[in-house]
Amino acid sequence: MWPKAIHESPGKAAFIVDPATTDKQVEALSQIFTGQVGGMPWELLGPTFQVVGLLKKKITIEGSGRKSTFRIDGVGEGRGDALKNPVTGEDHIVNVDLPTGFIWKKGEAGQGSFRASAADLSVEFNKTNWIYYQYDWSNAA
């Protein structure tokens, strides 16, 4: 979470990993996410936040595509759905194609709600922007 514009720092982050994650894996992940091993976007984002907590909790992912759900025991959950036709309430399927996208190329658009709280941090959004995509950040020079 960042209280101001991200580049104005100081943000706070809590990391949650599956209980099966070893200390060595946690260390490797922390080096990536805090930007210590370089590469975008973490090299840029890493210095803008402070890690205030590390939790080991069971993570469950169910469903598929935009209608995926993920849940972290005792922390929170996120739930995705399709956009709805405002008259009939039927699913309104929208896909986004970004051939030159630098984070993702093809996305399934929808609406999602999520809430989570860990280590003094708490977020909650309802029926907000929700796009299901394959993360594709090449870091090509």
Partner: protein, 267 residues
């Protein structure tokens, strides 16, 4: 290196880059103050043979390249004085990445290269502005205080700058300038050449934001330092304050109103 020592190093480095930018800005402003007072002294002496005099006078003669060169320097220093504070968040973010690389022994690029690319754009703008100024002096459309003598020019510039505040081009450029993070994430390039190109690109977005409002210097006098400072503050507010884009658009309405008023009085 321990995490604490590392953080201390980062903080110290941020202070150094910040101080360098502040020093650059202050030096540019001091030069402008010096230039402004020298010009008013010369104007009072009323001695057309003094060197540099032609800059301050509504000269109707053909401008020499030396005189135009002096104008380019004046504009260039002014652009540094006005734009450095607004560019500071982007420059600091760029340097944050590279000082971290330095601390970890990875290849890094000096921040000055990024700044240089940025300033190249504003130097080109300074050349264009200086040529425009020489042309306006020759056509006797600027006073000895370098302010527009023609209400048509002054009013027209105000209306044009005000309308530009509402254009999609302005909005797009300002959005990029307001978010250093997304600019660097989308357009990151490695190496010295990459840093220069990124500086250049940031400069272009910045120019896209501010060229029209900079042209307002012709309205109340290019060396009217209160006017110069007001425009610089307006640019800074628009760029770094929350909802600054909205403030910029409201300022556009005020500019159009002022321009229309001047044009109406003249007719």
């Amino acid at each position: 290196m321990s995490e604490a020592a590392f953080e201390a190093l980062l903080r110290r480095d941020r202070v150094i880059v910040g101080a360098a930018l502040a020093a650059l800005t202050i030096a540019a402003w001091l030069y402008l103050l010096h230039l402004a007072s020298a010009m008013s002294d010369m104007a009072m002496l009323d001695m057309p043979t003094m060197p540099g005099m032609t800059i301050a006078m509504p000269a109707l003669h053909r401008w020499t390249w030396v005189e135009v060169g002096a104008l380019v320097v004046m504009w260039g220093v002014m652009m540094i004085a006005m734009m450095t504070p607004a560019a500071a968040p982007m420059i600091l973010m760029f340097s944050a990445i590279h000082r971290r690389r330095t601390a970890e022994g990875r290849p890094a690029v000096p921040t000055a290269i990024f700044v240089l690319g940025y300033l190249v754009v504003w130097t080109i703008y300074s050349v264009v502005a200086a040529l425009a100024q020489a042309g306006l002096h020759s056509a006797a459309m600027l006073s000895s205080a370098m302010a527009a003598t023609s209400p048509l020019l002054a009013g027209g510039l105000l209306v044009a700058a005000g309308v530009f505040q509402w254009t999609p081009l302005k909005r797009a450029c300002l959005a990029t300038c307001r978010s250093p993070l997304s600019f660097l994430m989308i357009g990151w390039r490695e190496g010295r050449c990459g840093a220069f190109v990124m500086g250049l690109r940031h400069g272009l977005y910045c120019l896209g934001c501010c060229w029209a409002v900079m042209a307002l210097l012709f309205v109340a006098g290019i060396m009217n330092l209160l006017w110069v400072a007001s425009i610089a503050v307006a640019i800074l507010v628009e760029k770094v304050v929350p909802r600054g884009d909205l403030i910029g658009r409201l300022a556009g309405v005020v500019l159009v109103a002022a321009g229309v008023l001047i044009l109406a009085r003249a007719s």
